[in-house]
Symmetry: C2
Subunit: 189 residues, 2 copies
Amino acid sequence: MKKSFGPQTLIFPTPVWCVGSYDKEGKPNIMTIAWGGICCSTPPCLTISLRKTRYTYENILERGAYTVSVPPEKYAAEADYFGIVSGRDENKFQKTGLTPTRSKLVDAPYVEEFHMVLECKLLHHYEIGIHTQFIGEIMDVKVDESVLDEDGKPAILLVSPLVYETKSHFYHGIGGQIGKAFDIGRKFG
Amino acid sequence: MKKSFGPQTLIFPTPVWCVGSYDKEGKPNIMTIAWGGICCSTPPCLTISLRKTRYTYENILERGAYTVSVPPEKYAAEADYFGIVSGRDENKFQKTGLTPTRSKLVDAPYVEEFHMVLECKLLHHYEIGIHTQFIGEIMDVKVDESVLDEDGKPAILLVSPLVYETKSHFYHGIGGQIGKAFDIGRKFG
């Protein structure tokens, strides 16, 4: 029996991603979001949604760029902090001791200590209700060599990204392998 | 040391969601995607990206609606099959024995057996390279009572959604709780 929860932003899984940007004075900022996803394969694009009131909103429009750094489990508290406090009030990199590395490809900083980072150039932005959706072309994906598998591919259990449990407001890790994609379904013909 | 992977759609986590639609003749179809996410809180909206060649593409434009059913771990093979075969060639519900339930709110079917389903009314669509991004307003979220926690909230470990490991092409489950959101970061002040 299904219970109706009404119109709301309730779905699993949603990501926990940290968006890096520079403000007018060149101060690096970082904020955490759960609203976003890949939106195109060619060109490779990642979308994130922000409210206009966010400090990062103006930064992205002015610089035409943002990064997404994927926080690993060990930095869950830092990622949470990045979503609680505004960059208007604090230098969140200084407060947490994490390192803002300037991207060589786009005008935005990423979190050096996080295993996986994406550097995005702003292509479009659309107003959708109270959120603005930014579409960024992924110019590069950088991954720490320490979290690659034996085939040289990023291993999700080593990258150890977080999943956000909407409604209950918990962060979760990634569980074990369930099966191979484009393979386990072939039994249905 | 970070290794550069170049411009590509590589990020963790990405979801595994099954998109339900009706074709011109009223045949229910279902396909699996990993490109999508929440894109607005008010109105609550979910975005999914599809190639124009997909059978579901025309269905959504004609009916102005789609659903997203979240496949639980136990139906990983079915969800995989939904992403391998086209609805042009097969009735994927019949092949897997899963039940297409007609939404009472939008003109699209969802998967009865999956624990969490969202019913979306098409608001916009944007061309972004080879993918078209559909923006759907979430009209309702329905969740099986069997996967609610003691507070009546959907429990992610019971809903048991899948995470897609891009590049390696594996499905993963959800891991244990890492911490409380808007809480564990407060120690940074």
